[in-house]
């Protein structure tokens, strides 16, 4: 065991406190660029009354990056943001989706069928406001298969 003299102890202590101060300062500096409040506008999108979406509806909302579909089971929203690297998918003729950036393909429920996408397309929450209008939120994800049921 190395014998630590009093002088060495205080010397080590001084240098140690210097590095501790540097580390604390660096941590404080890293804290600054990490945002605590997200600055963007609300991602809620007003869709309209449920009657506007009879079964069989399929609508793309450009700019909000989501699709609204309607069938006998209800109305549901699927995100258009590719789960690979965030490009915007478009609908294919065969009722699926494909991504222009790296060739990911998804079936009609958003399940990946080809390409590098690691997950299926997100399903989004649809809510009815007290005035009867439907709203979708591009940041509120729900379990796959969640539909807004009529009546």
């Amino acid at each position: 065991m190395v014998k630590l003299t009093r002088r060495d102890f205080w010397g080590t202590f001084g240098i140690g406190s210097f590095w501790a101060a540097v580390a604390t300062a660096v941590l404080g500096m890293i804290k600054l660029p990490k945002p605590s409040v997200m600055p963007e506008a609300s991602s809620r999108l007003k869709l309209g009354p449920p009657e506007d979406f009879p079964p069989g509806t399929a609508r793309a909302y450009e700019g909000s990056n989501l699709f609204i579909f309607s069938d006998s089971g209800g109305i549901y929203a699927i995100s258009a943001v590719c789960t690979h690297l965030g490009c915007i998918v478009s609908r294919t003729d065969g009722a699926g989706f494909e991504c222009p950036c790296h060739g990911s393909r998804f079936d009609a429920t958003g399940r990946p069928t080809a390409g590098p996408a690691p997950r299926g397309l997100e399903w989004l929450e649809i809510r009815q406001a007290p005035n009867g209008f439907l709203y979708a939120d591009a940041t509120a994800t729900v379990a796959k298969g969640t539909k807004w049921r009529r009546g």
Partner: protein, 505 residues
């Protein structure tokens, strides 16, 4: 009797001369000694040693590649500052300001073109410079750490290119930021697969730091602008200083041992013919003419002339390209519709091809492994005696040629298979993502290259030849991927023989 007034009048008359003398300190450098002193005592010249080895001036050895990188960096710094006069880093104004620079600002188009071509030139030169240093085994001790610094400079150069092409806020910029930031957050591919994301989310942290928001917008543009014009250049110039400093401290440029003279004949060269001795004609050494004791020459003028020639060549090349070909500017950013295909600049298309197999493996894991592997080469291959010899001799040349053949054939074969038959997801739609993350063409290439290199190590019993094999494989593999990404990838990242076959829509 001298009066103060007379002194004052005299000093005033002498002012131009005394001012100039105080700046230069010495008169005109008319002798070798004066020139050597000037190099030694001038802040800007003393980056050079006073005398340089003759071998360092051979054009076929360094090919001026490092110097050309510096030439392009100088052009980038000057034109970059000029572009900042008009550029406005907000999403509303950025695109219009770049358009103004291109079409309205006096000589703005030329300055922007110069900035763009010098950036491309710098990326190419950094890669070629690295290849030169590698193939001449110049990373050997005492230069291991400078190789390390060089790899960091390569990474910084690529980071500067990436942050640079985001700034015009056109379609390329917007979707490149989107893709880049999602690559940074792709560790989630791994943490999601393991169910760790709620507890440990490095991908989300990176995304938050880069975007400063949930989506690409004002905060992201300002952050990338800050990185491009301040943070990364400061780091680059700091490391560049270390890089230059270490060249000097590690004994100048590397050179083969055959260039070093034995101590007893330093000032003399072996005579090729007869020389006149004191009493008779004998064979022997003769004093070397025009060279110093260590086979060196004066930096001023021998090195400076070469440097100026290379710098002027770099500038002339950039200027010619800038007058001939304009830097592209696509339509303004449209967050609703990505370009199809959304292609990065050519030097990232190899990476984009890798990313199209798996975001995490292609965008983070494989590049990190490659950079770490490069950094570690000098510490894992510690054979000696081959510094400054291209490919370390004949066997190395053969290994490099075979590696070129092996890597190009294996990459083309795997790509052909992928394009013809697809990959795991097409055959087993419910396969867990973790399997694809770890088993995809990108990891397959890496595995093949490592196995090939290990086989070479066993076969030839040499770590240097194994390093040559691995380095060549990665260089060739990346080149093939870049070529495929540039020429043969079309809409939806599909394979097309040429752009003429792209579907019309």
């Amino acid at each position: 009797m001298p009066t103060a007034f007379g002194d004052f009048r005299n000093n005033l008359k002498q002012l131009p001369r005394s001012l100039w003398r105080s700046v230069r300190r010495r008169g005109k450098a008319t002798s070798d000694r004066a020139r050597a002193q000037a190099v030694f005592s001038n802040l800007f010249l003393h980056v050079h040693s006073v005398r340089v080895h003759r071998h360092s001036l051979k054009p076929g050895y360094t090919m001026g590649l490092g110097l050309l990188t510096v030439a392009f960096l100088a052009i980038l710094t000057v034109t970059g500052v000029l572009l900042m006069v008009y550029y406005k880093p907000t999403p509303e104004l950025a695109y219009a300001s770049v358009k103004d620079i291109h079409f309205v600002v006096p000589s703005g188009r030329l300055i922007r073109n110069l900035h763009r071509w010098a950036a491309h030139g710098m990326v190419i030169m950094v890669f070629l410079h690295m290849a030169r240093v590698f193939y001449t085994a110049s990373y050997r001790p005492p230069r291991e750490f400078n190789w390390f610094v060089g790899i960091l400079l390569l990474a910084l150069t690529l980071a500067l290119s990436f942050t640079g092409y985001l700034l015009p806020w056109d379609q390329l910029a917007y979707w490149a930021i989107t893709i880049g930031v999602n690559i940074a957050s792709s560790p989630r591919e791994l943490t999601d697969g393991l169910g760790l994301t709620p507890y440990f989310d490095p991908g989300g942290l990176m995304k938050g730091l880069l975007l400063g928001a949930n989506a690409v917008g004002t905060e992201a543009l300002i952050r990338f602008h800050l990185l491009h014009v301040m943070v990364l250049p400061l780091l680059l110039f700091g490391l560049l200083g270390v890089h230059f400093w270490r060249i000097r401290k590690d004994g100048g440029l590397s050179r083969p041992a055959s260039e070093e003279l034995a101590p007893d004949q330093q000032a003399f060269a072996q005579g090729s013919s007869k020389t006149y001795g004191l009493m008779a004609i004998v064979r022997g050494t003769s004093p070397a003419v025009g060279r110093g004791p260590q086979n060196t020459v004066n930096a001023w003028p021998s090195l400076f002339i070469v440097e100026m020639a290379v710098l002027m060549m770099g500038t002339a090349l950039t200027l010619a390209l800038s007058l001939w070909l304009d830097a592209p500017l696509k339509e303004a950013a449209n967050p609703a519709v990505p370009e199809n295909p959304a292609k990065a600049p050519w030097y990232f298309l190899g990476l984009q091809e890798l990313v199209s197999y798996s975001a995490f493996m292609g965008g983070i894991a494989v590049p990190t492994i490659a950079l770490l592997g490069l950094i570690l080469i000098p510490y894992l291959d510690r054979e000696g005696g081959d510094v400054g010899v291209w490919f370390s001799g004949r066997r190395g040349r053969r290994v490099a040629a075979w590696s070129l053949l092996f890597s190009s054939l294996s990459v083309v074969a795997v790509l052909a298979f992928l394009i013809r038959y697809g990959w795991l997801r097409q055959w087993f739609p419910d396969i867990p993502q973790l399997v694809i993350t770890f088993v995809n063409p990108g990891t397959l290439f890496t595995l093949l290259f490592v196995l090939w290199s290990l086989w070479i190590m066993r076969r030839f019993n040499s770590t240097r030849l194994a390093a040559i094999a691995l380095f060549t494989c990665f260089l060739v593999g990346y080149t093939v991927l870049t070529y495929v990404g540039t020429v043969h990838r079309g809409p939806n990242w599909g394979f097309y023989w040429s752009q003429a076959d792209w579907p019309v829509h």
